[in-house]
Amino acid sequence: MKGQFEVQFNWVFVLIAGAVILAFFFSIVLKQRAISEQRLELTLAGELDAITTSASVAKGAAQRISLPKAGLDFTCSDECSCTFSVGSVTKDYRDKLIFAPSHIEGDTVVFWSLDWQIPFRATNLLFVTNDRIKYFFVHDDSAESEQLVGKVKALLPEQANSAFVTLSDVDCRTNPNCIKNENYIRVKFVFLNTDPAFGDLQLDDSFSDTELAAVHITPDALTFFKRDSKTATTFTPASAYYAGDATLFAAIFSADEPMYRCNIQAASRRLGYVARIIQSRMETFRADAAIIERGCAYNPETIARVATVGDEQGTSLSSGLTELRGLSLTLNDENEALLRQSCPTLY
């Protein structure tokens, strides 16, 4: 009887011990899997950080890079906390100025950098796009619209999917052969000095389930249009300003108005510092006896004003940003005059 009880107890003991051991190993495997996935995401986020740093220092270069399966997310809050994420790993933009869609997925991603010249290089802006995003540039016959078309065509890299269309190509009410979405996940309409007229405009049904955004660019200002929901036909506008070609492209590639505003504010702060450095360098020239003897004339007012505008716009983006266009032309003239006199130039 005692022997029989012992054999039964052994079996129960072995079963319990086996179950505990199995559960232990199973939990370790699950934990390791979670750790490995997180580690991979961390590595990818770190590598992406390095790639974006290299891409943003390479001026005017467009490069195609493999994209992680989870895709990339870019976001800027209203308070200007800008981050990018790979899966569950989120990294701060820090000093990078990235203009991208809110989510990007596919096999590859294109990074394109352009320097913001006012007229000296203040900083580099980095634009992100890929094969699954399309930009429709809507233009008309006006001189302003054609001028903007010329600018976009001259600078936009071929890696960005783009098409130049008129408003009648977009509006399906009047045109049965209106443009359709060819399976792009995201579509951006860029109205180049052409009134978007969203109240009347009727897009093709193929756009109904697409991530859609729009921006209206005039020679003076920008208006971002955010679709109220993924299938809505109504859009919420938000105004902004630009100065220079790089900021024009920043508006085109930005997911929304906060992304544009936050990055341009950061770029303006940098512009303020670069302008102060140029101003300080100019003061050194003005104090140098040999340069005075050569008759080199430096005007500290324009560069000081650029620095002030940079500081102001770095705090809050306003129509004051457009003042940089005029200041840029003045500085350019001053620099050319110095060059003609064989004097040390400002930039």
């Binding site: 290089r121 510092y273 300080s280 050194t284």
Partner: protein, 150 residues
């Protein structure tokens, strides 16, 4: 009964030994990753420094590669010494690091452009650069030294 317990004891002994060995390996891998990340950060900061518009040599908007403007170095150093806002702004670029400039020719000149230390462990990188003196249009030779703290 005794045999079963003995088997379990031996099993758990091997398990604990195996686990401690595995965790040691993981710890080493983590240290390697940390070192690698610090080195990548050092390269990134060095890469950024030589391309900064605040330091680069530009001629009517055209930048010269691996060239640093001497007057911009003095201006940026003075700016970072005098302005707390600038220190905060440039922390985004240089983080916990020290950025030093050494001119070796024609005369020896040293500047510590940026300095924000943290901890003792450092990774150092030196980048040879051409130094442009705009006042007399001459060139010197020097290097940028980047020390990144882990």
């Amino acid at each position: 009964m005794f045999e079963t317990l003995a088997v379990l004891v031996v099993f758990f002994f091997f398990l604990i030994f195996g686990a401690s060995f595995y965790f040691k390996l993981q710890e080493n891998a983590l240290h390697r990753d940390l070192d690698k990340n610090t080195q990548i950060r050092a390269v990134q900061i060095a890469q950024k420094s030589v391309h900064l518009p605040e330091l680069d040599c530009s001629f009517v908007g055209v930048q010269r590669e691996n060239c640093i403007d001497f007057d911009k170095i003095t201006a940026l150093t003075a700016l970072l010494m005098s302005s707390d806002a600038a220190k905060i702004e440039y922390f985004k670029s240089f983080e916990y690091s020290t950025l030093r400039f050494h001119q070796v020719y024609p005369e020896s000149v040293d500047y510590t452009i940026y300095d924000r230390k943290q901890g003792d462990s450092t990774t150092a990188l030196q980048l040879p650069v051409v130094v442009y003196h705009a006042i007399d249009g001459s060139y010197g030779f020097g290097y940028l030294e980047v020390l990144v703290y882990a």
